[in-house]
Symmetry: C2
Subunit: 249 residues, 2 copies
């Protein structure tokens, strides 16, 4: 393995126009104050753009399956939770002991499972079809997601937070999982505003955590910057009001 000097710059490869799964990595890099380039958002003339990402995706040998992926020195690391598993200890975004690291990764993987289910609410038949071509199925799926899955996932995260003896999941130091929980709640609030508002009183620890993360100096600066893309209907969290209707049924 090629080691990376502390001063080296990470290269993040992700779709340039959406928050998507890449946002979980961006938030960790921002909180860490790490030097990174969001490659696909740079001009093609400077070696950026989607073309640069595709070049790596289609490289011979063992290429990533899909974005996001991170280049760090000689390593190319894919899968969101795997990237955070790598970044966490390097930037003190997770405690040093094995039990905490495994627990952090476990919750991160469950965040990822929920994100995948969010995607399924608007693409229950297949990601190669437009939403309009799977809308009846999406309505059925989203109704169950709002009614059953949002409460199940969020109460799980709420319990994990309640078990902590500090302001964050692992005491009083923020971890990459706290950042991801913040992002998850932002996405849910965008895509399912009614359902999220309805459940908020039942998950006070999560709501407070979001406030704490949002107020952190580097995160606040990032959220106010042009580096933070707005949510939109091309990403994973999409505001299709008809899918949020189950909240009142």
């Amino acid at each position: 393995m090629v080691s990376m000097k502390e001063t080296d710059t990470y290269e993040l490869f992700y779709w340039p126009s959406i928050q998507g799964r890449g946002e979980f990595v961006r938030l960790a890099l921002e909180e860490a104050g790490a030097s990174y380039v969001d490659v696909a958002r740079r001009p093609e003339s400077e070696g950026g753009g989607v073309a640069a990402m595709m070049k790596l995706l289609h490289a011979p040998g063992a290429a990533p399956f899909a974005p996001p992926f991170l280049r760090s020195g000689g390593l190319v690391i894919a899968q969101t939770a795997n990237i955070l598993l790598y970044l966490g200890p390097r930037h003190r975004l997770v405690p040093g002991d094995e039990a905490s690291r495994l627990h952090a990764h476990q919750i991160q993987l469950t965040v990822g499972d929920m994100v995948a289910e969010v995607h399924e609410t608007h693409h229950p038949i297949g990601s190669s079809l437009y939403y309009k071509n799977q809308k009846p199925e999406a309505l059925r799926r989203a109704e169950l997601f709002v009614k059953e899955r949002i409460p199940k996932f969020l109460s799980h995260f709420e319990r994990a937070l309640a078990a902590s003896d500090g302001h964050y999941l692992f005491g009083d130091d923020v971890s990459y999982v706290d950042l991801s929980l913040f992002q998850l709640l932002q996405g849910l609030g965008y895509a399912f505003p009614r359902a999220t508002a309805a459940i908020a009183p039942k998950v006070p620890e999560l709501v407070t955590l979001c406030d704490r993360v949002r107020a952190r100096k580097r995160i606040a600066a990032y959220l106010a910057s042009s580096r933070r893309l707005p949510f939109n209907e091309d990403g994973i969290f999409r505001r299709y009001p008809e899918l949020d209707a189950g909240a009142t049924s």
Copy 2:
């Protein structure tokens, strides 16, 4: 963290009547020759059964979200890929260097993504509904899964194997990922026999890998034992012939 002596016995918690996600862990434990108890398959009168699993799932504090989970000394580790991340280095089922471990975990997570999509083929609307109540949607989803997703995932794994300079993903020593790829192919062959037979000639490395894994002494003994549950229509891989029909369209 409480350390575990090499001679201690792992406790695996998973549904007692299906292979499911637990099988990826079982295969790793079997190949390692590790001492383990498949807790929910033991009698309730001896502290086993689903009741023992539920007790841990509903324990106060930060409990797992879902089975499988593994108790190892004082640790309780959930999420299939996370359990394998833990077991791999302890039983030499992954090379020691960081780059290989991250790469192994990355591919394992992609195996997990495909397994989740397999589940969606028979439950595209929600896991709380019976298959018969989401069959039209399942037919649509499975057709795309067979046509687009199976080739995309399997060609990805095939490329990763082809990039290896040995018989397995990381040379000539078997890794937990090789075992998982074997299991994935067995499941696909059970659930989608026609689609799997159709694609087999295009993924020769994967087919050869399966033969090698199946012939390993401990794996062969395990597969012939009563510890190996048969596939069935309660698990993740289900043989619903109508969902395999896309193979010929």
